[in-house]
């Protein structure tokens, strides 16, 4: 099973190092040797597992830190990747936020967590419910959390049904209160996050659309009380099943956290769960091909060969969302000329807050739009100077790819109808719900 666990900074320094099966001291620095060989940046671009000198390394990356496990025998890489993800999530839960600094400050806490999570390389538990019985060390936070710190309300600000907004930092404090903290806030955050990937063919026809969604809960309630999450009643799973009248909210595939009780799910679409402290994913779902809504964008590209060696790219982008909605951080990139090294760009954009730049490494033009309201239409003209332009070069103009974030919106239409705690928590308990759809693979072919 697991031989060693490392948490490395982005420069490759050891922040945490635990030797689970106590290998000989000489092998302790096996990872260092390996990294010296390949460099820390290699971890960014290679698949895991990687093998070096009888040891297998498996790594994941969270918040700029590398979480690495080495192993000598033949364990399941799935187990190890899941474990590392869980370790990162728990570290975040216990330390409040995840950064090189917070890990350095809380190393004793993390060692204690690791001791309870892994014994002799066997994973014991990753549940906060069990762990909270054992963990003694208190988290050290760099700055005591204050609700009055509302400086950066924005994209990550949560929104409730009452349109109250919590600051983005609200969900980044340790789940276990320190003794110094006077008022214990009983808060619960529910996120419905959807990831959209779309391929639109050169003829404008939607070729492929996938939605992967999940309902995540971050819970600060110290005692376990049952939470009931009501989803849309017309929510249906699979192709055959249809519920209610009108437009159903449909997904293909749905899986739940093992703690979720589903006895009321079939009839009332209610998820019942006693959430453990910390963050967990209650439900994951997928939908492919049949989107209930039209794709949020339409793009009308024209690529022409201008006189001389100039490539003319005219892009017209329309957002088909209702005017109330808006997109943030839209990035559009298009490969222009793969084989050629030198070219220059001139541009005409429809508003000054947008920007466009040429990315020499990916040989693409990146057009950035900070905010794009529904119903609006934007256009851009790019003139790319391509030496030795031939008609064949037009064939080289690659697909357009967009990435964006769409707050307060789900593609499937999934909504949380209500969020109830029973028995009702004594004292203040606040519930926050937010929705977001994002995409980093929205491709339009030319």
């Amino acid at each position: 099973m697991i031989s060693q666990v490392f948490i490395l900074s982005s420069q490759g320094d050891h922040l945490i190092y635990k030797d689970c099966i106590l290998m000989h001291y000489s092998q302790e620095n096996s990872l260092d040797l390996y990294l010296k060989l390949v460099g820390i940046t290699i971890l960014l671009s290679v698949q895991c597992p990687q093998r070096n000198k009888n040891l297998n390394f498996i790594h994941v990356r969270h918040s700029g830190l590398y979480w690495v496990v080495s192993t000598k025998d033949n364990p399941s890489p799935f187990t190890i990747i899941e474990f590392l993800n869980r370790l990162a999530a728990l570290t975040k839960d216990y330390c409040g936020s995840l950064s090189e600094k917070s890990v350095r400050m809380n190393f004793a806490l993390i060692y204690e967590l690791l001791d309870e999570m892994v014994d002799y390389g066997y994973i014991q538990t990753t549940s906060t419910d069990i762990l909270k019985n054992f963990i003694q060390t208190e988290a050290v936070t760099s700055k005591p959390f204050s609700l009055f710190d509302l400086s950066n309300v924005g994209l990550f600000g949560a929104e409730t049904q009452q349109s109250k907004v919590a600051p983005s930092a609200a969900a980044s404090r340790p789940i276990v209160a320190s003794h110094g903290e006077q008022v214990r806030k009983n808060e619960i955050f529910v996120d419905v996050v959807e990831r959209l990937s779309v391929v639109i063919g050169s003829n404008g026809v939607l070729m492929k659309a996938d939605v992967e969604g999940e309902i995540r809960v971050k819970c600060y309630l110290p005692t376990c009380s049952e939470m009931r999450i009501g989803l849309n009643e017309e929510f249906s799973i699979g192709k055959s099943q249809l519920r209610g009248y009108g437009a159903a909210v449909r997904v293909d595939e749905c899986s739940f956290h093992q703690a979720v009780k589903l006895d009321e799910f079939d009839t009332y679409r209610i998820l019942k769960v006693c959430p453990s402290q910390g963050e967990q994913t209650l439900m994951q779902y997928q939908l492919s091909d049949e989107l209930p809504c039209a794709p949020p964008f339409r793009l009308f590209p024209t690529v022409e060969k201008d006189y001389g060696s100039r490539l003319l790219i005219f892009l017209k982008l329309r957002c088909d969302l209702p005017p109330k909605r808006y997109l943030t951080f839209v990035g559009i990139s298009q490969t222009v000329a793969r084989a050629l090294l030198l070219f220059s760009l001139s541009q005409e954009l429809s508003s000054p807050e947008q920007s466009a730049e040429l990315q020499p490494r990916s040989k693409a033009v990146l057009w950035t739009i900070p905010r794009f309201p529904g119903g609006a239409q934007l256009s851009a003209v790019f003139k790319v100077e391509v030496p030795r332009l031939s008609s064949a070069s037009l064939l080289e103009v690659g697909p357009i790819s967009m990435s964006f974030e769409l707050p307060k919106y789900t593609c499937t239409g999934l909504q949380v109808r209500f969020l109830r705690l029973s028995p009702t928590q004594p004292g203040l308990s606040q519930r926050w719900v937010r929705y977001v759809t994002h995409s980093d693979s929205y491709t339009i072919r030319i």
Binding site: L22, C48, K72, N74, Y120, T137, K208
Partner: protein, 938 residues
């Protein structure tokens, strides 16, 4: 303030820490220990503080205690004497009223790998294994595994293994899971003792615990279940039913462990069972779900899916779309997806796949684009209907003029030409336009090959070749080889001469041989160089079936990601056991043979026919590619004089070339052989013993032991071989294969220096010794020689399969002939299959591999037939009589491990025998059927 913990300056010296550790204040002590551990993490040696830290051990503050224990674990090994100091505290802590402290003590002391300590730990451990608190028990269970690693004998002597076994029935699932994990690990280092003792009762307990324990515990239990072999298909089904709910678990590791159990136990279910189909359907969604995970998981999932698709393509055949590449996938995920896409490509989805591949070919990443182009070629080869569309897609890509796209496209078009000869030459003109841009060896070689192959259709082929010739000296070997070959091909077409001059001796010699060949006998040369190229195989990179089976047993592990068996990368004894898929056993039959579990293991032993497809263009000319068997045996005209010594020195240089690649040319020359013979060949060590062996010569000839020997036939008529007539036959005697030859000298002169060589053939037949003709063969003399053969020679699929091309040399010339051997020659003596195994194998071989054959007008009864066949190693496994017809079930094993199973139906009413033959390598069936008739009639 806490940042100071990481301070690396001189101030934080050991001395300062020492003082703080000995402070009276608890808080200060705690901070000091924290600082020590921080230094430890960054790699500083703080072992000098050992006694001071140990002094802090006796405290009621749990946080401090944990920190001290953390330190102890790391340094106890380097300070064994000091570690003894801690023992008392350990023993005391193991009896602490607080279960957290008891568990902490037992956990830590197992990690202290000091021999002196271990003895003191046995008593506390024994108590903790029976502790009332499950948290202590589960920790103690792991401690047994730790102790076993330090001192296995101690653990056995103290009876801890039995206590551990008892814990499998514990009421707490966490304890069960840890006990299972510990026992699994211990039993891996003791493969023989059956520690886990899996039986239906214990399996039932595990299945119950499965529903209750944590996700990580579920993984231990599922992995343990996968090692169990159910007694029959019913038990297998019931386990599958109880494991299937795990497929929807959110933890991918649980899902994969469940998939492993199901893939393994499915093997035992009959395919016509409804449940089998249901199970197949249930396996697809969880695998698809894995692909929406983060890239790290996606990659390991894809590697596993790659195995599953090879084993059971039906699971994911409708899921092609999920393997389409996303824009933001990392490159290693993209490449894996592409691989699976090609494996799943079929006529039903090929249009969609091609459209995707064409898009991929316009992406930025060069490796990915290349692989996409290559994939288009593979689609063409795999799905014939799509070939035309693939070719036109490739032509479109060539139009982009992107250098590496063009080169890659040309390489795959070459493969398409090989698969579908004379179909798509219309595109050659387009290819020729791009000649200048080719700068990679593989692409150049492919282009040269195409030009050579279709030289007749390209007007300026010689010009094109000349242009390639300019850079001849700089080319890599691959290009040069193809080039030489092609050039010759071309020359043969055009009948012009050109001798390449190169520094690579191998190449130069080859060119030289060609040239010699050309100048002596253009016809023969044409047949050598233009010999039919072996077919290109449809699937590439397929994992060899036995390895695939083993890897399926390791689904979800590192082995399944590396596609290597665990013993290839795990050190030591662990993982040495090869895992096998269970064979199918029907519930009704298992009652008779309780040991079916073991015996069925052998079924999958028979490796399916692996006849390597010929990768290289040349068909490896250096191995004396003889002309294909035909009436026109290439015989060099007799009119040749010594001046053109292709046959003397020429052949010798040919032989010389052979040497490095494992020559089979075995020559025995009498003293004073031809002077032109190089020393390396003439001085064969076999020569010395030559005379002594003389008397053994006839010994083996003509002694039949029941095995069928066809009558001798004339293989090489005297008129074709300057007076040497060769007739012969093949026989199987005493477990060995012999080629019995009669050599007759019809010429006017004495013949000496006989030697024989075989071309590569389907079953690797090769001479096991020299051709023993030790006295010169006088005029009109005939000599019988028995040449022992083995099957260790190089393999190449022949058409027909049992064709053998032979070259015989003597002092006069080299002669070539081809002959066919009865496939019964290859039936081995240990070909009798166990009844159960026979049954299981028969069911396992799909019905499309069955061949029906009728033997007409044959009147022998079943017993006589059985005896007759047994003489030639066709073994009757069982006999049944149903409705006045006898059914003989027979097994045959070939020298290369291929099994053939036969059902011979003998009716008393009609004189016809019906033969049904099942074989995993159906290409041999036809020959075996013919042999049956031959064996029965003789």
């Amino acid at each position: 303030e806490t940042n100071k913990l990481y301070c690396t300056s001189v101030k934080c010296c050991i001395f300062e820490l020492k003082a703080e550790l000995n402070s009276d204040k608890k808080e200060k002590k705690k901070e000091a220990v924290k600082k020590v551990i921080a230094s430890m993490t960054v790699g500083k040696d703080v072992s000098a503080l050992f006694p001071d830290v140990v002094n802090c051990m006796q405290t009621d503050n749990l946080e401090l205690k944990k920190l001290v224990y953390l330190y102890l674990m790391n340094y106890a090994k380097s300070q064994p004497d000091m570690a003894i100091m801690a023992v008392n505290t350990f023993v005391k802590d193991c009896e602490d009223p607080n279960p957290l402290i008891r568990a902490l003590a037992v956990r830590t002391m197992g990690c202290i790998r000091v021999d002196k300590i271990t003895e003191y730990l046995c008593e506390p451990l024994r108590k903790c294994l029976k502790d009332e608190d499950p948290y202590v028990r589960k920790t103690a269970a792991v401690c047994v595994a730790k102790l076993h690693d330090i001192n296995a004998q101690l653990v056995e002597d103290q009876g801890f293994l039995d206590t551990l076994k008892d814990l499998i029935s514990d009421s707490n699932p966490m304890v069960v899971a840890n006990a299972v994990a510990a026992l699994s690990e211990i039993s891996e280092s003791h493969p023989n003792c059956n520690l886990l003792d899996l039986n239906p009762q214990s399996i039932n307990k595990l299945l119950t615990a499965l529903n209750e324990c944590t996700e990580w515990g579920q993984i231990f239990i599922l992995d343990c279940l996968a090692n169990y072999t159910p007694r029959d298909d019913r038990e297998s089904q019931s386990i599958c039913e109880r494991v299937t709910p795990r497929l929807s678990h959110a933890n991918s590791a649980v899902v994969l462990s469940a998939v492993k159990v199901l893939m393994k136990f499915m093997e035992m279910l009959p395919k016509d069972l409804d449940y089998y189909g249901t199970l197949l359907k249930k396996l697809a969604p969880p695998l698809v779900t894995l692909l929406s995970a983060e890239p790290e998981l996606q990659y390991v999932a894809l590697r596993n899916i790659n195995l599953i698709v090879q084993k059971r393509p039906e699971i994911l055949k409708h899921e092609m779309k999920v393997f389409f590449v996303k824009y933001n996938d990392p490159i290693y995920v993209k490449l894996e997806k592409l691989d699976i896409m090609i494996r799943l490509a079929s006529q039903a989805n090929i249009a969609q796949v091609l459209a995707e591949l064409k898009e991929y070919a316009t992406e930025v990443d060069v490796d990915f684009v290349r692989k996409a182009v290559r994939a288009i070629g593979r689609c063409a080869i795999k799905v014939e209907q799509s070939a035309e569309r693939c070719v036109s897609t490739l032509l479109d890509l060539i139009q982009t003029k992107v250098n590496y796209v063009v080169q890659e496209a040309i390489v795959v078009i070459k493969d398409i030409f090989r698969k579908y000869p004379n179909k798509y030459e219309s595109v050659i003109a387009t290819l020729c336009e791009n000649l200048d841009s080719l700068d990679e060896p593989e692409a150049r070689a492919a282009m040269i090959w195409i030009v050579g192959e279709y030289a007749e259709r390209i007007d300026n082929a010689d010009e094109l070749l000349e242009s390639f010739l300019e850079g001849f000296h700089d080319e890599s070997t691959q290009v040069s080889e193809t080039h030489t070959h092609t050039h010759l091909q071309h020359v043969l077409h055009k009948h012009t001469q050109n001798t390449p001059d190169s520094d690579n001796p191998d190449l130069r010699d080859r060119g030289y041989i060609y040239w010699r060949l050309l100048s002596t006998d253009p016809v023969a040369a044409k047949e050598v160089v233009l010999a039919e190229k072996p077919l290109i195989s449809e699937e590439t990179d397929l994992i060899e079936p036995t390895l695939l089976e083993e890897l399926i047993c390791h689904i979800g592990s590192l082995a399944s990601v590396y596609h290597k068996p665990p013993n290839a990368f795990v050190e030591g004894s662990r993982g040495v056991q090869h895992k096998r898929l269970p064979a199918r056993t029907a519930s009704g039959e298992s009652a008779e043979s309780p040991d079916a579990g073991q015996s069925v293991g052998g079924v999958s032993d028979a490796p399916p026919a692996v006849i390597p497809s010929q990768g290289d263009l040349l068909g490896d000319l250096l191995n004396l590619d003889l002309a294909p068997p035909s009436a026109s045996v290439p015989v060099v005209p007799a009119s040749m004089q010594m001046g053109v010594d292709l046959l003397g020195g020429g052949l010798d240089s040919l032989v010389g070339l052979h040497r490095p690649s494992g020559s089979q040319y075995i020559a025995v020359g009498l003293a004073g052989g031809t002077g032109g013979m190089p020393a390396g060949l003439g001085g064969t060590p076999a020569m010395g013993g030559g005379l002594g062996d003389l008397f053994d010569l006839g010994g083996g000839v003509g002694m039949a032991t029941g095995s069928y020997v066809p009558p001798k036939a004339v293989w090489l008529p005297a008129m074709k071989a300057k007076g040497l007539e060769i007739s012969g036959t093949f026989a199987r005697r005493g477990g060995g294969i012999h080629m019995d030859l009669s050599l007759t000298n019809n010429a006017m002169s004495i013949m000496t220096d006989f030697a024989i060589q075989f071309n590569r053939n389907s079953f690797g037949l090769a001479p096991a010794g020299p051709l023993q003709v030790l006295t010169p063969l006088a005029q009109n003399q005939t000599i019988d020689v028995s040449l022992p053969l083995n099957t260790n020679g190089p393999i190449m699929k022949m058409e027909p399969l049992n064709n053998l091309q032979v070259a015989v040399k003597n002092n006069i010339d080299v002669f070539y002939f081809s002959c066919q051997y009865p496939i019964s020659l290859l039936f081995v003596e240990d070909g009798k299959m166990d009844r159960q195994v026979f049954l299981a194998t028969w069911k396992d071989i799909p019905s499309e591999n069955e061949t029906q054959y009728q033997i007409k007008d044959f009147h022998l009864n079943s017993d006589a037939a059985s005896t007759k066949l047994q003489g030639s190693n066709v073994f009757t496994v069982a006999k049944r009589t149903v409705d006045a017809q006898d059914l003989l079930y027979q097994s045959i094993k070939l020298t290369n491990g291929i099994w053939a199973l036969a059902e011979l139906r003998i009716q008393s009413i009609t004189p016809n025998y019906m033969l049904a033959l099942k074989c995993r390598a159906p290409e041999v069936s036809q020959y075996i059927c013919q042999c049956y008739e031959l064996l029965l009639r003789n």
